[in-house]
């Protein structure tokens, strides 16, 4: 084994870990990264990126089906070849993970392909021995949650990782959990030709997002033929002649070839190793301060493992902050303007507070809501994508943008503008005054800001 003492050791090569490793190396550190699988983590290998590949295929199917209405002739009914769908996705994943590997190499990070865990405050144990480091950044990530119901181990119950490996399309798919992953997978497989149902315990889809987005998304999914069963409590899963039958408390029975279990993700604390009792955790999450330090100051935890915000881009920022602090800089992580995107058909995206949260925080009288429907936006109409809206929630006293919520075909790209302006602390008044290209989708955000201020040009005058 090596006697070398690294400045920074990173456990986990996902969006938090690989970014932390590169940042620490940029700042002059000797860095080692442990990853038991392929670098890139859940995001690149079996999360964000692969699902986006599937959803692009699904979107293309919708466009082909819609082509005749735009005057395109000789269009036949599309059908998918799952083997090619998977191969296409795998090629994208390979290119990106190779790219991350190359970035780590070019920055001189030692990458060790091994499971690794803490074995002391400065010691990491891995397959071939131990390694010493002055600072350690834990980026163990998360894993899919299982629910304790009878029959959950039925072989037809798949995790999101497993469903991405399916090379044959099931005729009927039931999705347990109407969160981000469940809704995205439902859209993809419904477009591919499955009959998809979603069973959700809450009274709405994507319960963390603004209620108007949940409602709009439910309408869009139902229009595609996806069956929604909200406020349902599942009691068991039974095997009936190779079919998985899902039984709910109120008597609902759903029979399917495959069931996707997507009820959320829980932190993976495996990397804590022998310090699992020493490092402070709260409800299964590693407790960190704004500098990403655990209760042991030179041990940091970034990304899903600290449960602050389970999003790849938030994880990367946390990784960067942890690395800067580990290298002796002073850096804090502000997660107040992190965009959150759902790549369903149609897309929804948010940044900041929901209307409900803003009312709870500031009171109903303190906030104003502005809305602009995409059906009044020229570019949306011309593109045949008039569904959706932009909604802004502002704190009137300071003209402060508290939250922006977008539903529409390109919501995930459109959210970048309000997210940037909120991070730069630009007020709603300025957003309404910035010149936006015409015709473009971005105008809708400007108009919604105008509406919140009672000065929207392209909406009928309101009786106030």
């Amino acid at each position: 084994m090596s006697e070398k003492v690294y400045d920074v050791a990173v456990i986990g090569g996902g969006p938090a870990g690989y970014v932390a490793a590169i940042r620490a190396a940029q700042l002059g550190g000797q860095v080692v990264l442990f990853e038991q699988d392929t670098v890139g983590g859940t995001c690149l290998n079996r999360g964000c990126i692969p699902t986006k590949s599937y959803l692009k295929t699904a979107e293309t199917i919708h466009q082909i089906k819609n082509a005749p209405s735009r005057g395109i002739l000789n269009v036949s009914e599309p059908a998918v070849d799952m083997k090619q769908v998977v191969a296409c996705k795998d090629a994208v994943v390979r290119q990106l993970t190779n790219g991350v590997g190359g970035l780590l190499r070019s920055n001189g990070v030692d990458v060790i392909k091994s499971h690794a865990s803490l074995n002391g405050e400065h010691t990491i144990e891995y397959a071939d021995g131990t390694c010493q480091a002055k600072s350690i950044i834990l980026c163990g990530g998360s894993k899919a949650v299982k629910i304790p119901i009878p029959g959950i181990d039925n072989p037809n119950v798949l995790t999101s990782t497993e469903i991405l490996e399916l090379k044959e399309l099931p005729a009927r798919l039931t999705v347990i959990g109407g969160g981000v992953i469940g809704c995205e997978m439902a859209c993809a497989f419904q477009a591919f030709g499955c009959q998809v149902s979603i069973v959700e315990a809450a009274d709405r889809l994507v319960p963390m997002m603004d209620r108007e987005l949940s409602t709009a998304l439910a309408g869009a999914l139902e229009a595609q033929g996806i069956q929604l069963h909200l406020s349902q409590k599942i009691t068991s899963i039974q095997d009936e002649g190779g079919q998985a039958v899902l039984q709910c408390e109120d008597g609902l029975r759903l029979s399917a070839d495959k069931i996707l279990l997507s009820v959320g993700r829980a932190t993976d604390l495996d990397c804590l190793g022998t310090l699992s009792e020493t490092i402070r955790t709260d409800r299964g999450k590693v407790v960190v301060n704004d500098r990403m330090q655990t209760n042991i100051p030179h041990i940091y935890a970034a990304g899903d493992i600290n449960g602050r915000l389970m999003l790849a881009h938030a994880a990367s920022k946390m990784g960067e902050v942890a690395a800067e602090n580990a290298m002796g800089h002073q850096s804090v992580c502000d997660l107040s303007a992190v965009p959150s995107c759902v790549y369903t058909l149609t897309q929804i995206a948010s940044v900041g507070l929901t209307e409900e949260a803003a009312i709870e925080k500031y009171g109903r009288d303190a906030i104003r809501v502005g809305r602009f429907p995409l059906s009044a936006n020229g570019r949306s109409l011309a593109s045949g994508e008039p569904e959706g809206f932009v909604k802004v929630v502002i704190l009137e006293k300071y003209s402060e943008l508290c939250g922006v919520h977008i539903c529409g075909a390109h919501a995930a790209e459109m959210i970048a503008e309000p997210a940037s302006l909120m991070a730069a602390e630009i007020t709603c008044e300025e957003c309404a005054s910035i010149i936006h290209a015409h015709p473009s989708l971005s105008e809708a955000f400007m108009e919604a800001c105008g509406d919140a201020l009672g000065r929207c040009i392209h909406l009928p005058k309101k009786r106030r």
């Binding site: 300071y398 402060e400 602390e425 630009i426 007020t427 300025e430």
Partner: protein
Amino acid sequence: MVEIFMPKAGMDMKEGRLIRWLKNVGDPVELDEPIMEIETDKITMEAEAPGTGILLAKLIEDNTTVPVLQTIGYIGQPGEQIPTTPAQQADAPVPGSSAPAEDTSAPKSPALVSESGAIPATPLAKTLARENGLALAEIPREEGRPLRAHDVEKALEGKTNVSATPLARKYAEAEGVDLRHVAGSGVAGKIRKSDVLLAAEPAQPAGSREPVRIPLTPIRKAIARNMFNSLHNMAQTSDSVEVDVTELIALRKRLVARQDLLGTKITVNDLLSYAAVKMLKTHPLANASYTEDEILCFPYVNLSMAVATEYGLTSPVIHDADQMTLVDLSKAMRDVVTRARDRKLTAYDQQNGTFTLTNMGIFPVDNFNPILPAPQSCILGFGRCVDKPAVYNGEICIRTRMVLSVTYDHRVFDGGEVGSIMATMKEYLENPELFLVQ
């Protein structure tokens, strides 16, 4: 053609070392692009090109030390002839000269405006303008002279020269927070909403065990740097003596009773200051500075007064205090202290002090150890006036007493001299007519 000179990066910088050129002769250079690394007695820094063109000549080699403002190179157009005898503007104060720290940072070269149209400015002026977000072209300057720090200071007066996000400005306006008092946590010190909220409500929730993090304001940083450097670079030592100020207090009462006649309300501090200025007449080493080669004794007294303000410690200067009557000094003192508290001091108000007073008399403090403001050789501190039993004319009676504290630079004078200074001060304060007649 534009001259490149050794920058004067601070008021007390006499010479600088060129560590290395960052450009070769013939290289194109842009205005404000770093062209060399220099070292002062305190820091190393990159210095910027004073104009745009090509680097025509280097007059000194890497690793050479030269006086500040000496011409060390030229920037111009290809083919331009460089002068054979560069104008030298060495900044060397003459001992005993009446203005040793006069602003000599202005190169008096005839080529004030380069062909690229760049605004000639001293490095200090450029730094001040950059830190405060002012464009050099916006700042009025005297015809035919480069822009000086004083010009920038003037341009800054009355302007809310803070960098803040639009949302932070909204919050500051609504919450009545003065942005000039807020330390920014954003990029390049930009003030963000959270900084304004912190300034509006600094209280921590009860029971929190998180340390309170107080951002360093520029003035706090400057105080920290000056205090540390002062203790680090000088041979400071302190003494104290208790004096009887019963007579002085009685005198002050009589002067206050006639304030209509005098046109000013004389304070105890005015009397103490006046006495100290008179003391300096016979103790010039207490109104001096130590340099590597010699001791500079100033033939005038620029009296610096330590003033505590809500934004930190300042030391405004009353120039030529030795030419003033007690009434003049009292008025000047009130003016400068008021302006210090209102943040209205100009750069001139804070420059070229030769001797400093600090008064802790409003607090229950007797003896203390003031820190010298470099490069001054002596600082005098006054404690509180307190009635206590004392032996006076062979009897125990109640007298008003005060402790006089002094810190001095032992490189400039020794214990014998400080004893003599204290003796004079004691004599003056116990017999105020002695200094009043001078």
